[in-house]
Symmetry: C2
Subunit: 135 residues, 2 copies
DNA sequence: TGTACTGTAATATTTATAATTACAGTAAAG
DNA sequence: CTTTACTGTAATTATAAATATTACAGTACA
């Protein structure tokens, strides 16, 4: 996987710490140690998934869309997931081989089961509990 | 993640289908649709983890090291895993920020829990059951 | 002694990820 | 009504990771 889950959780933790104050993408980028445009892109995604809200214009910024105990990490995961947990081959296996012909489907089925287990587990983690660890 | 889990499972499935006959890396590469050197590298790793055995020299090749019902996909996963399930940021977060200073450790702890859940789940998948799907 | 393999390292290529730049749009404040 | 400080988003460039390729030494059988 890539770093998107980390960045999203980092953003949400900072927004939680701000307790409703609007926070700028510049500030967030400073703590994450990356650049504001990338953070805004991730914020855009989080907003699309209903986890944060934003305000444009001068004195604008970002805040959580709901209370931190309602932000489950399963939601965050769903918001950023893009690749299979068990990975994915770049090349199509050989369709002339009985194994090659079917293996992708079988691996995909298995991946689905694993992902369900992950999401079920992540359902028990929420932002409120996570934030508490920092104090 | 990358394609290593796929390749390893593909290899093992083909070796299982060969029922003890030695199989060459060339043949494996043909079904997987990649090149033999890469397959041998993966075979080397699987051997290191006790899942296959190899024979050098002319008429050499590869076969399973144990019966397919004893090859759990949790073992395969352990053999190829390298990155965190929840990903990892490239940059160190800002140590001057209370959140940035601690977040990596907290994310790592969470990742550990998720990974344990994945492995527990993968423990129920074995090569024998997987191979059956192909007939 | 030739042949058909494995084992492994070094290098090149491709793809994925992240960083940067740029600028239009918006709203507050003077 | 203009400046200022933000967001939103796209386009481009840079960097890192993954995979492919090449090469060749080592091994065992015939």
């Amino acid at each position: 996987m890539n770093g998107r889950f980390h960045i999203s959780v980092h953003i949400l933790t900072l927004l939680d710490a701000a307790k409703g104050e609007l926070v700028s993408s510049d500030y967030l980028a400073g703590s994450i140690n990356t650049n504001p445009a990338l953070v805004r892109k991730e914020l855009s995604n989080l907003r699309k998934h209903g986890l944060i809200i934003s305000k444009e214009g001068k004195a604008g910024g970002y805040m959580l869309a709901k209370s931190p105990d309602q932000i489950r990490f399963a939601d965050v995961y769903e918001a950023v997931k893009q690749t299979a947990i068990l990975g994915q081959a770049r090349n199509e296996p050989n369709p002339k081989c009985p194994v090659g012909r079917q293996i992708n489907q079988h691996l995909k089925d298995m991946d689905k089961e694993i992902e369900d287990a992950v999401i079920k587990k992540l359902y028990d983690f929420n932002l409120a509990d996570f934030s508490e660890k920092f104090y």
